[in-house]
């Protein structure tokens, strides 16, 4: 039986390769289809955990501070992410509100919570309780987390409304922007290295 730990399979064409240690600015490509197999990951566990905690704080800020406030001739209004979900829930498309809530609030929240939990134990070179479940969850939550979509939508709204109303981006919007960038970095595929790191 071949030691499968050191093998890697191309996602796109199922070619099997040996893992190679990579240096900075290096990446391994599939010889058959040219897809990226491996990327240099310069982030230590500690850094990843630190960024996860940062993301957690930003998530709190994005959810409790208004994303933007608009005003028109003295009539003003401001909304947090949760307000927008509630506004959707009020209308006839309550189901969409559920989707929105999952994709912009709940999914990122679970992602961050699991990351911090798993990485916290990983820092002590231990598998956390429920490691296998959580690692699978992380994979399955990734497509549901649509923070960057929400950010784009919010920014489109800001730019579109700017001509009609006085639009003031709030703390929530900035937190959301940083959070979505951080999420790309910390909740990416390379989290699977933990499988190897924690036997």
């Amino acid at each position: 039986m071949l030691d499968t730990d050191q093998l890697i399979i191309c996602e796109h064409c199922d070619c099997v390769y040996h893992k190679v240690p990579l240096k900075k600015h290096q990446k391994a490509l599939c010889q058959r289809c040219g897809a990226v197999l491996q990327r240099y990951n310069g982030m230590t566990l500690q850094q990843r955990l630190a960024l996860s905690i940062t993301a957690g704080v930003l998530w709190l800020m994005a959810n409790f501070y208004p994303v933007m406030s608009i005003s028109l001739k003295g009539l003003s209004n401001s909304a947090t992410l949760w307000d927008s979900v509630l506004a959707l829930a009020d209308g006839p498309i309550t189901f969409i509100a559920l989707v929105a809530a999952i994709s912009i609030i709940i999914a990122p929240m679970f992602q961050l919570a699991i990351l911090i939990w798993v990485l916290g134990f990983a820092l002590a070179s231990k598998r956390s309780p429920g490691f296998i479940t959580f690692m699978r969850w992380l994979e399955s939550l990734r497509p549901w987390s649509m923070l960057e979509v929400c950010l784009l939508g919010a920014m489109v709204a800001v730019f579109k409304l700017a001509g009609l109303l006085d639009v003031l981006p709030g703390i929530g919007l900035f937190a959301l922007a940083i959070l979505s960038l951080l999420m790309i970095r910390i909740a990416g595929r390379d989290i699977r290295e933990l499988w190897d790191a924690l036997p």
């Binding site: 230590t44 500690q46 850094q47 630190a50 960024l51 905690i53 940062t54 704080v57 930003l58 709190l60 800020m61 501070y65 001739k73 003295g74 009539l75 003003s76 209004n77 820092l123 703390i171």
Partner: protein
């Protein structure tokens, strides 16, 4: 020298390498910064958060949770977080989060009201709320005590934001057409307004609070009189008709005017919250102070049509009071209906006479017994009340207190209360009596005898005239003929061709000639005066005799 043999270079002791279980990476700065930013935001928010108060309103009109703002001078100082029905469902409670700098708006005496577009007598306000939605207006109180629950005002207070000026209280019997917002004018310039009014505790009068704006409040002095300048004041009294109006706005919404009397020595600015009396009209307001009132009763035995409450009471022509009641009474003894007239007089209105009288008689104006005795002496001297006609057009009566020495003596009871002044019939009544007396006198005249005498006289006259006709007239005719003749002869004498006239002409010619020769002689003598002695010289030329041209 074993030691020398075994001498070797010393081997350094193996160092113990300790691996720190956790090496702290610099990356931890990132979450720390994030947490710090988060904490600072929270702390900032917490510091910004002012007190939370609850305001109850009658309705929740215009109040929206998380949207309605609380403003002071149009600056947002808080916002409504929830709007709930009160447990007893009689009011609406708005929970308001005030900002930190608006902390003193939680003072006990702060006031809150909903600002919405309003059209009132004073104009239109709050137009901007049509677009922005209603907001809660606030005015900070001065109290040090903080409160949690406030009662919202239904209407915006007219004076807010510590506007400079002063408040005064006016005391009146009824509100008339005044209301909150009615203007207070000084010489017909609007200088303030009515802020509030309330019934006195006993329900017998009204206290009106007014606010006078800053530079004008100095014109309110201790002696200032306020009067109700509302509407049109038409008065038909014993003094005739009078129509008075103030400005158009006070005509519509009522108003108060004030002024100090013209002669006003030692006057000084009034203190804040001083209580003034509000008079019904300018005339009564500017009248000299009435002083102490004295109630008197008059009992008339005649009908008093035209005597109304408010009719003036005059003493020797000076108005000193007014009629306060006119009541019919029944006299059981005489089975008649006398009229009881209650009057109030203000002796102080007599001015100098009053002060002199007090001084002379050492009379204490507060002692009613004393006053009764004084009146008693006056009545002994003939003081009587009389209802007189003040205005023939309107038939209004007034009461005159006059001394009538011919009035029949009356016994005055100084202990009776109220003090009663005896009366004499009214002037019209007197006129009727006099007329009656005259008619009676005429009746008593011996008209028949006079007529008889007159008839005899006429007969005599008739016979005299007959005699005149018979004897005297023919003589007169003869005389007239004679006169006619005389005139005719005079006429013929003066005619042109009469001999007398011709002779007269000749005589005049002669006279002319004579005067000419006399002049020649005089001329000659003037030139030759010596000829008077020597006679005429022989060689004298003939033309020397000619009259000189000079």
């Amino acid at each position: 020298m074993k030691s020398a043999v075994t001498e070797e270079p010393p081997v350094p002791a193996p160092k113990t390498v300790k691996t720190r279980r956790f090496s702290i990476s610099m990356v931890w700065i990132v979450p720390i910064v994030a947490v710090l930013v988060g904490i600072s935001l929270v702390v900032h928010n917490w510091l910004q958060q002012g007190p939370t108060i609850q305001i109850t309103f009658k309705t929740g009109q215009g109040l929206t949770a998380n949207k309605t703002e609380v403003k002071y001078r149009n600056v947002v100082i808080g916002h409504v977080t929830t709007v709930d029905l009160s447990p007893d469902q009689k009011s609406v409670t708005a929970t308001v989060k005030l900002s930190k700098q608006a902390e003193n708006f939680a003072a006990e005496d702060s006031s809150f009201w909903v600002v919405s577009a309003r059209i009132g007598a004073g104009g239109i306000s709050g137009i901007d709320t049509l677009l922005s939605g209603d907001f809660i207006g606030a005015d900070a109180g001065q109290s040090k005590k903080r409160a949690k629950v406030f009662t919202g005002l239904e209407t915006p207070p007219p004076i807010t934001y510590g506007e400079p000026g002063r408040r005064f209280t006016l005391h009146t019997t009824d509100l008339g057409s005044l209301g909150v917002g009615s203007s207070v004018s000084y010489r017909k310039i609007s200088v303030g307004q009515v802020v509030s009014y309330q019934l006195a505790k006993d329900g017998k009068s009204v206290d009106i609070e007014i606010f006078v704006h800053a530079p004008y409040d100095a014109f309110i002095t201790d002696n200032t009189r306020f009067w109700n300048a509302s509407g049109v004041d038409i008065e038909a009294g014993a003094n005739g008709f009078a129509v008075r109006t103030e400005s158009l706005s006070s005509l519509l919404v009522g108003g108060i005017a004030f002024r100090a009397p013209q002669y006003n020595p030692n006057d000084q600015a009034a203190a804040e919250d001083k209580v003034f009396e509000l008079f019904d009209d300018e005339q009564s307001a500017l009248a000299p102070p009435k002083g102490r009132a004295q109630y008197l009763v008059l009992r008339f035995e005649q009908a008093l049509r035209g005597l109304k409450t408010g009719a003036p009471v005059e003493f020797l022509g000076v108005e000193i009071g007014q009629v306060v009641s006119v009541n019919l009474d029944f006299d059981a003894a005489t089975r008649s209906f006398p009229v009881n007239v209650g009057i109030v007089i203000y002796p102080q209105r007599l001015g100098q006479a009053h002060t002199k009288m007090l001084k002379e008689l050492r009379h204490d104006p507060d002692d009613e017994r004393n006053a009764a005795e004084l009146l008693g002496t006056f009545i002994d001297h003939g003081l009587r009340a009389q209802a007189r006609s003040g205005n023939l057009l309107t038939g209004q009566l007034y009461i005159a207190l006059d001394f009538d020495p011919k009035a029949p003596k009356v016994v005055f009871d100084p202990t009776a209360r109220p003090i009663t002044i005896p009366t004499i019939p009214g002037s019209l009544e007197q006129l009727q009596e006099q007329f009656q007396a005259m008619v009676e006198k005429i009746n008593r005249l011996p008209i028949e005898r006079i007529a008889n005498n007159l008839d005899a006289n006429l007969v005599e006259l008739h016979s005299s005239l007959k005699q005149f006709n018979k004897n005297t007239l023919p003589g007169v005719q003869g005389t007239l003929l004679e006169v006619s003749k005389t005139l005719q002869s005079a006429n013929s004498t003066l005619a042109d061709d009469s001999p007398q006239r011709e002779q007269l002409t000749q005589t005049l010619d002669e006279l002319g000639r004579m005067s000419r020769s006399l002049r020649e002689l005089a001329d000659y003598l003037g030139r030759n005066p010596e000829s008077l002695l020597r006679g005429r010289p022989k060689d004298a030329p003939a033309d020397a005799l000619k009259p000189s041209r000079n």
